[in-house]
C-alpha cells in the first residue's frame, strides 16, 4: 500500500503563479534521492561529536589566520562561526581547543558511510567533501514506505553520533541543494517553487561569482534563474543553468556509483617457528593461492601486496611488492614472491605470516590465443622487470631516454620500462658518458670538432664548452671538451 507523501516543510508564501503543493501518493517507479549532508564531518572525522558542549573547532591549516571549518555546539554557543580565523576565535574564548583538519580521515569516513548506506540501496554516490546521495525510490516497499525509511536513516545516522542533514527530492541535485539549505523534503510538483526560495549560498558558487550576484541584488535561486537564460549563460557560464535544469529533472544527471573496494587479507600460523624463508615459502604459497582464487572470484587483479612475518619477540618484518601491471596469475605472483624471499633474511624465526593485498582493480585478462604461443613482448618485459625488481629493488631497473636539454649532462633521463622514447637525430655522441668529467693534464689529439655548447646560463649549471672528438695514442676515441672559462681540457665520454 503506497504511503502518502508527507507535506513538505512550510514554504514561504509562494508567488501567485505557483500551484500549491499537494500531497500525492508516490508511485512504485518514482525515483527518489536522499542527500545526506554532514556539516560537522571535519570534527567527527577527528573523533569528536558535534553536540559537544566543550568549545572545539577544526581549522584548515596551521597558521593563526587559518579559517575555522567546523565547530562543536559549545563553540557555536560561544559565538564562533565558520570562516572566522583561528586567532580571532582564540581571542573570543580562552578554553577553545583547536584541531587541525584531516582530509584523509574525512574521506575514509565518507567511504565508510557509503558502505553503510548500501544497506538501504544499491545506488550510492558520494559527493565529496561531506555529502552522500542515495537513490532510495526502489527501496520504499522493502522498508515500509518513504516515511519509515526516512526515519530509519535519521535514526541510524544519529546512532553513529553524526550530525546529519537529510533531504529527499526527485532529483539528486535538488536533494543536494535542499540538504545544504537544511530542508527535508522536496516536492515533485512544486519543486521549482521550492528550490526558488533557497538562498544563493546553497549553490556553493566561487566567491567572485557570488559577489557578482550580490551586486546584482540577487539573493535566492528564484531571483537567479528569473534572469534571462542566454545572458546568464554568457556571463556565468553554462554550468549554472545546467545544474538548475538537472535539479528540476529537465536534464538527466549521471552520477558515479560508489563501489566497495575489496582487498584480500589472510593469516597463517606456522606449525613451528621457522627461520629460513625457503621453508616458510610453502605456507606463503598457500596464501597466494587463496589470494588468486579470491581475485578470480571478483574478476579482478592486484598491483601490490604485502607479506608480514610475525616474530615472537621482535616487531614484525614486512615485505612489500609492487607490480608493474595488474595481475592475478598465480604462477607469476608465486614467482615474484619466491624471488623476493630468496633474498630475505629474517631477524628471528617467524611464528605466523600475514598476506594482504592492495585494493582489487578491474583487469582485462590476457585471452589465450589459438596460434601464438610466445607471450606478447610487452607482457614478457613487464614480467621480467617485476622479477628483477623483486630481488634488486625498484631503482635498480630502468630504461633510458634522451631529454631535451642542450647541456650534455642533462640530455638523458631515466624512464619507466616500456615508455617509448623519440628517436631524435643528434650530432655524434659517445655511447659511454662519464657522469663526472675527468680533467686531462694536456691537450689530446683532436680529430674532429669543435661543437660549441653554451647553455644553462639561466640556472646554476651554466656551461660554455667546445666539444671535440679526440684519438688517443692507442687509438681509442674520446669525447673531450675545453672549458671556456678555465681553458682546461676534460674527458666526457668514450665512443665505445
Amino acid at each position: 500500500m503506497p504511503q502518502p507523501l508527507p507535506l513538505p516543510l512550510p514554504l514561504p508564501p509562494a508567488p501567485a503563479n505557483q500551484a500549491a503543493p499537494a500531497a500525492r501518493p508516490h508511485r512504485k517507479s518514482t525515483r527518489c534521492w536522499a542527500a545526506i549532508e554532514l556539516p560537522a564531518l571535519p570534527l567527527e572525522a577527528l573523533g569528536e561529536r558535534a553536540d559537544n558542549a566543550q568549545p572545539i573547532a577544526v581549522i584548515e591549516g596551521v597558521t593563526p589566520r587559518a579559517p575555522l571549518v567546523a565547530l562543536s555546539a559549545g563553540a557555536r554557543a560561544a559565538g564562533l562561526y565558520i570562516g572566522m580565523t583561528a586567532s580571532a576565535a582564540g581571542a573570543r574564548i580562552d578554553n577553545l581547543s583547536l584541531r587541525t583538519r584531516d582530509l584523509a580521515r574525512e574521506a575514509a569516513m565518507l567511504d565508510r558511510l557509503a558502505a553503510w548506506s548500501q544497506r538501504f540501496t544499491s545506488v550510492v554516490s558520494p559527493e565529496p567533501p561531506a555529502m552522500l546521495l542515495l537513490e532510495i525510490g526502489g527501496s520504499f516497499k522493502l522498508f515500509g514506505g518513504i516515511e519509515t525509511l526516512r526515519k530509519r536513516l535519521k535514526a541510524e545516522l544519529a546512532a553513529q553520533g553524526l550530525a546529519a542533514q537529510l533531504a529527499l527530492a526527485p532529483t539528486p541535485r535538488a536533494a543536494l541543494w535542499l540538504a545544504r539549505a537544511g530542508m527535508e523534503m522536496g516536492d515533485a510538483h512544486g519543486l521549482a517553487g521550492q528550490l526558488g526560495t533557497l538562498p544563493l549560498a546553497t549553490l556553493r558558487l566561487p566567491e567572485r561569482t557570488a559577489r557578482d550576484f550580490e551586486r546584482l541584488g540577487v539573493r535566492t535561486l528564484r531571483e537567479v534563474f528569473r534572469l534571462p537564460r542566454d545572458g546568464l549563460a554568457r556571463r556565468f557560464g553554462p554550468a549554472l543553468l545546467r545544474d538548475w535544469d538537472r535539479a528540476l529533472g529537465q536534464l538527466p544527471e549521471a552520477r558515479r556509483q560508489w563501489q566497495a573496494e575489496h582487498h584480500f587479507a589472510a593469516e597463517r600460523e606456522l606449525p613451528i617457528a621457522l627461520h629460513e624463508t625457503g621453508r616458510i615459502e610453502v605456507f606463503v604459497n598457500d596464501l597466494i593461492a587463496e589470494l588468486a582464487a579470491a581475485l578470480r572470484r571478483h574478476d579482478a587483479g592486484i598491483d601490490s601486496l604485502t607479506l608480514v612475518f610475525e616474530h615472537s619477540r621482535l616487531p614484525p618484518t614486512a615485505v612489500r611488492l609492487r607490480l608493474l601491471a595488474i595481475s592475478r596469475d598465480l604462477a607469476h605472483l608465486q614467482r615474484l614472491v619466491h624471488t623476493r624471499l630468496e633474498r630475505l633474511h629474517l631477524p628471528a624465526a617467524a611464528v605466523a605470516i600475514r598476506l594482504h593485498s592492495g585494493f582489487f582493480k578491474s583487469m582485462i585478462p590476457d585471452a589465450a590465443t589459438l596460434l601464438e604461443t610466445r607471450p606478447e613482448p610487452a607482457a614478457e618485459r613487464t614480467a621480467l622487470v617485476e622479477t628483477l625488481r623483486a630481488r634488486l629493488g625498484r631503482a635498480a631497473v630502468c630504461s633510458l631516454a634522451p631529454a631535451a636539454d642542450p647541456r650534455p649532462e642533462y640530455a638523458w633521463q631515466r624512464v619507466e620500462p616500456g615508455i617509448q622514447a623519440s628517436e631524435a637525430i643528434w650530432p655524434r655522441r659517445p655511447i659511454w658518458l662519464l657522469q663526472k668529467p675527468r680533467p686531462l693534464s694536456e691537450r689530446p689529439r683532436l680529430i674532429s670538432g669543435p661543437e660549441r655548447i653554451e647553455a644553462g646560463w639561466w640556472s646554476e649549471g651554466a656551461l660554455g664548452r667546445d666539444y671535440y672528438i679526440a684519438r688517443t695514442p692507442v687509438g681509442a676515441q674520446w669525447w673531450v671538451y675545453r672549458e671556456h672559462r678555465s681553458e682546461r681540457w676534460f674527458l666526457h665520454g668514450y665512443f665505445a
Binding site: 610466445r374 613482448p377 614478457e380 618485459r381 614480467a383 621480467l384 622487470v385 622479477t387 628483477l388 630481488r391 634488486l392 635498480a396 631497473v397 630502468c398 630504461s399 633510458l400 631516454a401 634522451p402 631529454a403 640530455a411 638523458w412 633521463q413 631515466r414 620500462p417 617509448q420 622514447a421 623519440s422 628517436e423 631524435a424 637525430i425 643528434w426 655524434r428 655522441r429 659517445p430 655511447i431 659511454w432 658518458l433 662519464l434 657522469q435 680529430i447 688517443t472 692507442v474 687509438g475 681509442a476 676515441q477 674520446w478 665520454g493 668514450y494 665512443f495 665505445a496
Partner: protein
Amino acid sequence: MKTALNTLLARPDIWRGGFPRQDAAVATGHADLDAALGGGWPARGLIEVLHETHGGGELTVLAPLLGTLAAAGRQIVFVDPPFLPYAPALASQGFINQLLLVQTGSDTDSLWTAETCLRAGCGAVLCWLDRPTHRALRRLQLAAEDGEALALLFRPLRAAGLPSPAVLRLAVQPGHETGLIVNLLKCRSRPAASVCLPDPAFA
C-alpha cells in the same frame, strides 16, 4: 661402428671444424666479418668481446646486431655497465626503446640478472663481470642457449689466454690509423681470423 660414430656426430652439442654451422646467423653489417664468421653472428650463446681500452669500438661492432634484435621486438639489457649508457647516442642506434638498464652493485647479482634476462628471452644481455669464473661463463652460455638469446660479455684483453665455453670470442682493437681490427680468437667451426673493418662511423 660407423653408425655409432655418425649418431655421435649428429649430436647438436658436438661441433667439428670446417663444417658450416647449422643454426641461423645474424648479419653483422660488414661483409668481411660475415664471411669470417660464416654468415654472421651466432643467434644464441655466449659471445666474449675482449678489448683493451674503453672507447676502442667494442660496442660499435655490435651496434648493428643490437639494432636488428631491437627491431625484432627483443629486449637489450645492460647489466652493470662501467659507465652511463648515453641516451642521445643510443637513440641514433635505434635500440633505445628496447633497452633495460640494470644496476645491481655485486657480481653475484649481476650474474643472476644476466641469467634471468637470458632465460626470459631477451635478445641480448650485455654484461661486465669482474673476473668471472669458468663456472659463471658456463652458466651464461647455458642460459643463453636456453633462452635462445645472446650473452655478450665484455672482458679485458688479458683474459684471452683463459679457457672459455663461449661460442665466439673476439678481440676488438682500434686500427693503427683508422677503422677497427677484429680478431676472431675462437669461432665454432671456423678457423681463427682477423678482419679489419673500415667503419666510416669510426674513422
